[in-house]
Symmetry: C2
Subunit: 490 residues, 2 copies
């Protein structure tokens, strides 16, 4: 098995190799579109299951809206179309026909659509065109709907999971009678995302608001959770938008209030995507491969028998089978890899590469001593444990690993937040250390743009818990009341 | 609440009204594309969950492949492209730009794709282009992969759930070392579909083979399960294809056998779609609305309090809460509808329309008598039952309803299978009674086409359990060894 390029040598190369070698995903024959392989998809399924439950627990239902958006719908909200028009896949025809030269098929020019259809880059417009018919009275509100779907944004520079032309995501779209309720919804879903990313993915995040320039196209306010990768670059892990009445006005969605007045509806939307898998990989993994938090690992425990003879394998299997039943009874996913065409050492490497949190090896000597050898993926440490009480021990160990992975990522993230008060320091820290730079900003788009042009750093967020303090913008020297977080981002 | 058109009056209109009024789905602003509303989608989620488990139990994993298929891929398998070219959504451009006249956006002519992309109508070609890189040795086989996805077939005449331009489905794509193994896989998945449709959807099916003319484009053999709707029309509920080496040859997918030879890989594919929801509706529902089998109903039990005063509601709620906890403990989904803005009678109609299998009404008199009133949706019968032992009673009742719905559908289906031995009888039965017509056929495409042209009936399947018997084709008089099933189909 070829080893990975190390992170220190080339972080970007390490990431690409890891995604491929751990069988997570690969590029397809279609420019910018990826194939999510079974192991990568199993992680997405675990994410989906957890998020879906959290959405349902907060009162949401799933639905499904069309893949295609008529061009005229996309155009109805001015900022929205401005934000998405430049990266749209456009369907113009609905039929192929045999090529006159007998060579394959060509697009049938007679099957041109009257109005072009856009493959959804996000679904606000098609959904608000639908909500128009769902809402008449205040009794029809709120609408709390989520959709699991594929979307397409024609990115020119793509990267597996992090930036692909097609990606999978969920998009929540809610409609409310009042501004307060819509804002509360947007904030609630940000908390749901933060809880998921921290508790399940083990990735600490900072909750904040986007600056006006970084807002979702069509939003009044964009809430974000920002994560820090090992290389000091930030990654936006989920966003929740308060859309005001922008889409209600664009699609004329009104309700009759209790007082009998016609009012425009208030909206939110919120989304998280397969990009999260990229964040998961980059936040925790090491030069040996993936490190998966137990809460999101498709296989939490793998058992590898070490044997020469069939009799030995049989004796080991008997112990393993009981352990497997006990672990399954505790809701722990476990795999027994008794394949004989691969050696134990090969398997050890394989499961290390794939980030299985706990590996158990059982050999004839272990059986004699009524024990097993346990290796944890996060620290690569090994220890032995008696077969007695082993399932409880493994369960505790998984909890400990989950916590340890989070703690490690948090310590690293915290070490990468630097307060600076001059633009000199800003640039120095950015180039030498990276990470989040906490600095005063005067609130203008001009300064934000200049800093971005000069350093590539963007405002990742204005943290929700930023404390009020008098300060001066690092760039303009103008007064500022809060620090914001800058970083170079994925 | 407006009542439904009756089935007797206009079956087609009844179906359309029911889908809308039960809040299952509606047409969108995009030609031929539907919006699946939360209640309809909740049924799809139950179907997905069950099917997905059955796929995993038979060794399959999920993965995800691109939405887009380069035109040249689609063209590689001759029959396949012939079958799908005429109903393809084609992406030709990747960008919009502001219209020079300042009026909205137009397709940017400078952003024309070098090669057009087809929105997948099915994924054999993109998947086999991927498998090419996954398979080198016999050790890489079998590949047992499923995908949950949306697909697009540009149908000209569409109908909610039954025939839509975009629909949701799953498509399994497997690769095998031998023909025997691939055939066994195709047959296994047919059994999985049959088991699911019969045991969960309560719809009896006939397992069979498609005639060559009705095979999937690119298949060597198509297995199908055929269901019968209440109006005497058949509906194909799932298909499983043995693809031979057609796609392996088109995409040059070979493996090295244990003997060191290069061999082409054998393939299957199999799919079931949101069309199943149409079948579910049409198989069981009545003039009052949906009739859902408990195994697939999003809400299995609804409890409606009947009260005048708040004190009464409180007392009823106490009884209901205990019942709800007991039912949930048994894995039964239950809703307590204590909304005060709707009257009990309105709620009764609503849940009847939505097909909730069991409705429980609790009023002050019931409390006095320590009982509740139970109405079953399938028979519309009511009875009372003591609060004591109620959860067990409900569980048994749900089992009974599931069985009763299946039995009723099966009796109806069986009554609609008619053996005929002359073409006169064939036409008479078809026009007067409908249903499946079991008749001898000489095996030629010509006869199949003539019968279709003259009667609109197609060969739904050659039943797997058809008995060998000497007979004469009803059309040509030529010898035949088996009866096949004809019907007019959705």
């Amino acid at each position: 098995m070829a080893t990975l390029t190390s992170r220190a040598e080339d972080y970007s190369k390490w990431y690409n190799e890891l995604v491929l070698k751990a069988d997570m995903a690969e590029n397809s024959g279609v420019r910018g579109c990826m194939v999510i392989k079974p192991y990568g998809y199993a992680i997405w399924e675990k994410m989906q299951k957890q998020l879906d439950q959290m959405f349902k627990d907060t009162g949401h239902e799933n639905a499904y809206f069309p893949l295609f958006i008529p061009k005229s719908y996309l155009s109805k909200e001015a900022d929205h179309v401005e934000g998405f028009a430049k990266e749209c896949a456009v369907v113009t025809h609905y039929r192929l026909k045999n090529s006159p030269d007998g060579n394959g098929v060509i697009v049938d020019p007679d099957a041109k659509l009257e109005e072009e259809l856009i493959v959804r880059p996000t679904s606000e417009t098609i959904i608000w065109n639908t909500y128009k018919n769902w809402v008449k009275s205040h009794r029809d509100l709120p609408i709390l709907v989520n959709q699991w779907a594929n979307v397409v944004r024609w990115e020119m520079r793509t990267r597996l999971f992090l930036r692909t032309a097609e990606f999978l995501w969920q998009e929540g779209h809610t409609a409310h009678a009042t501004q307060e309720e819509a804002v509360a919804e947007a904030e609630q879903m940000l908390r749901v995302y933060a809880e998921f990313v921290e508790n399940f993915m083990g990735v600490p995040v900072i909750k904040g608001l986007k600056s006006p320039a970084e807002r979702f196209a069509g939003a009044e306010e964009t809430y974000t959770i920002e994560a820090m990768m090992q290389d000091g670059k930030a990654l936006q892990a989920g966003t929740s938008h308060f859309l005001g009445q922008n889409f209600a006005k664009a699609f004329d969605v009104k309700y009759q209030s209790k007082e009998g007045k016609q009012e425009y509806v208030w909206a939110t939307s919120w989304g998280a995507s397969t990009r999260l898998i990229g964040a998961l990989i980059m936040a925790h993994s090491d030069d040996n491969g993936l490190v998966l938090p137990p809460n999101i690992a498709p296989i939490q425990v793998v058992i590898v028998p070490i044997h020469r003879t069939d009799e030995q394998l049989e004796a080991i299997s008997a112990v393993a089978t009981e352990l497997i039943n006990n672990l399954k009874g505790r809701g722990i996913s476990v795999k027994f890899d008794s394949r004989t065409e691969y050696k134990p050492g090969w398997k050890f490497n394989e499961y290390e590469l794939k980030g299985v949190p706990v590996r158990i090896a059982i050999g004839p000597k272990d059986l004699e001593n009524n024990q097993v050898e346990i290796a944890r993926r996060d620290t690569l440490e090994k220890h032995t444990h008696s077969v007695d009480g082993l399932d409880q021990h493994i369960q505790d160990l998984l909890t400990e690993i989950q916590q340890n992975i989070y703690n490690k990522a948090k310590a690293h993230r915290d070490s990468l937040i630097t307060e600076v008060d001059t633009y000199e320091d800003f640039k120095k820290v950015l180039s030498e250390k990276g990470g989040f730079i906490s600095a005063h900003w005067d609130g203008t788009v001009e300064v934000e743009e200049k800093i971005k042009a000069e350093t590539k750093a963007t405002i990742r967020c204005i943290p929700l818990d930023a404390k009020e303090e008098e300060g001066k913008c690092v760039y303009s020297g103008n007064p500022s009341k809060k620090r914001v977080l800058f970083a170079i981002a994925y």
